[in-house]
């Protein structure tokens, strides 16, 4: 098949996976008989994506805050406008870097794990075994991971934004002698409620993209260990591409229109 048709076929399968996942997450609990919600697996995924990623998210976002404040302090001091450090650092972290950096950390840490785990299950016939036992693999494998991502990426993003701003405040205190309380007083008027809402929306969309893309690549693995490796790489690359394109669209819509 020519590459374009291949792409269309893959996109069709991906869309089908999204529809199935949405059905088994939001509709099936009210319509299907028997067991639908997989509590223990969902708790495990919330823990895996959220709790176990927290430390690395906090650390890296703090460092990003430091770097951003250093860069802006350096430039702004040339114009004696270091009082602009707080709004610049906080606004850019809240609007852009928070959702973006956190979701890229989650892709690398949890998204790749999803693709590799589901891919290994696929080649060991475990997914087919589920199907043969009359157990829907989307319900027991994808839905818990989907909920884990869509719930936890926004929460991690909030934590990330807070420590990122704290990192910025530390540099502002050290170089521009702006104490933290003053930092907050200067920054707050520039942080609008809509910014927080958009940050949450973005991170939810990013979580959605990570979960569906990584599950898709895991479920479509073919060709043994090499296939699992390839699927893991593709899941990370495609997730990051999708995240940045979605970011562009959302930013254009909310901040540029």
């Amino acid at each position: 098949m020519p590459p374009f048709q291949n792409f269309l076929a893959a996109f069709g399968q991906y869309t089908q996976l999204i529809i199935d996942t949405a059905y088994w997450t939001f509709v099936a609990p009210f319509r299907e008989k028997g067991k639908v919600f997989n509590g223990p697996a969902t708790a495990e995924q919330l823990n895996e994506v959220g709790v176990r990623s927290l430390f690395i998210v906090l650390l890296l976002m703090f460092l990003v805050g430091l770097v951003l404040a250093m860069q802006s302090a350096n430039e702004l001091s040339k114009f004696q406008t270091t009082n602009l450090i707080p709004p610049i650092v906080c606004a850019s972290i809240m609007r852009e870097l928070g959702p973006l950096v956190v979701s890229i950390i989650v892709v690398g840490r949890s998204g790749s794990a999803i693709a590799a785990e589901l891919g290994s299950m696929k080649i060991a016939e475990e997914i087919e075994a589920l199907r043969t036992m009359g157990i829907n693999p989307v319900r027991v494998l994808i839905v818990p991971r989907f909920i884990g991502m869509v719930v936890m990426v926004p929460i991690l993003t909030i934590f990330g934004i807070v420590v990122g701003c704290a990192g910025g405040a530390l540099i502002a205190w050290h170089t521009a002698h702006i104490p933290p309380d003053l930092f907050l007083t200067i920054a707050l008027p520039y942080m609008f409620l809509v910014d927080i809402a958009v940050a949450l929306l973005k991170s939810t969309v990013f979580g959605f993209l990570i979960a569906t893309i990584c599950c898709y690549f895991g479920f479509t693995v073919e060709g043994g260990a090499e296939g699992v490796g390839r699927a893991t790489t593709s899941s990370v690359v495609m997730s990051i591409i999708a995240i940045i394109i979605a970011d562009l669209i959302l930013t254009a819509f909310f901040f540029f229109g």
Binding site: M121, A124, E125, A129, R131, T132, M133, G134, V140
Partner: protein, 272 residues
């Protein structure tokens, strides 16, 4: 559900092509209730593909497949899931869930399809593990046990819901002769004890003759021989079926040629 069927599995005029190449070419057979039917044939003869069609993983291009009287080619996914609860499947690679213990693996069908109390599930798991001779191992992970034990655990999982029908895909592949005999004995024994029928796909002839009530030989997507083990032996001995003879005796060359490469060997050596 009604139980008024004579054959647990019926396949009628089934065809399936992949990329224009016929892989299953007019397959018809009946597997009566309470028997063990062995489907045998060389690698690539279509026997695994046939099994995938019978369990509903793949759909045929045309033809009928009846399991317990129901034509599964016309069923919707949720109706098919109802049928799937009534048979068990033993996969070639066992397909145990590596993230769970053996006991949890056997418990999955019970927890997913039943509404049993945790204590009862525990008891049923222990009983199934005892049936395959592995009680006391429930707490181990699949990575901690041997291939033969995995097969037995997979068998315990396949019969967890007391199915009427068991499918086995190469149950003895990769096992030593003793373990092969153990798995064969277990399959036969379980079928008798539980009133179960079985469809077994294999290329292991010793094992096939040991367990089969009916043997079906597949070659290039067609059935080339079918009958009881005695009939198959007789057909082999009278020399009318050279493919069967070659396969059962394990001869390297015969109607199934040793050389599999396509024509034009000389041409390819000389570079077009």
């Amino acid at each position: 559900m009604s139980e008024d069927y004579e054959n647990i599995v019926e396949v009628k005029d089934m065809f399936r092509q992949f990329n224009g190449r016929p892989v299953l070419d007019g397959i018809s057979f009946n597997a009566p209730k309470g028997t063990i039917t062995v489907i045998m044939g060389g690698s690539g003869c279509g026997k695994s593909t046939l099994l995938r069609h019978i369990i509903g993983s793949l759909k045929p291009d045309s033809g009928e497949i009846r399991i317990m009287g129901k034509d599964i080619t016309t069923l919707s996914e949720s109706e098919m899931n109802g049928v799937r609860k009534r048979f068990g499947m033993l996969f070639q690679g066992s397909a145990l869930f590596n993230s769970m213990t053996i006991g949890e693996n056997v418990a999955i069908p019970l927890l997913e399809h039943g509404d049993l109390d945790a204590n009862i599930v525990d008891i049923v798991v222990k009983m199934k593990m005892e049936l395959v001779g592995l009680s006391g191992f429930e707490h181990l992970k699949p990575s901690e046990i041997s291939g033969g034990m995995k097969k037995r655990v997979a068998l315990a999982r396949a019969i967890a819901l007391d199915p009427k029908l068991l499918f086995c895909d190469e149950p003895t592949a990769g096992l030593d002769p003793i373990m092969t005999a153990v798995v064969d004995e277990l399959t036969k024994d379980l079928c008798q004890k539980m009133g179960m029928s079985a469809i077994v796909v294999t290329h292991d002839m010793a094992s096939a003759f040991r367990i089969a009530d009916i043997m079906i030989m597949l070659h290039k997507g067609k059935i080339v021989a079918m009958g009881s083990p005695d009939e198959i032996r007789a057909e082999m001995d009278n020399g009318k079926n050279p493919i069967l003879k070659q396969f059962i005796n394990g001869e390297a060359d015969g109607p199934i040629p040793f050389r599999q490469s396509s024509d034009g060997y000389l041409k390819s050596l000389m570079g077009n």
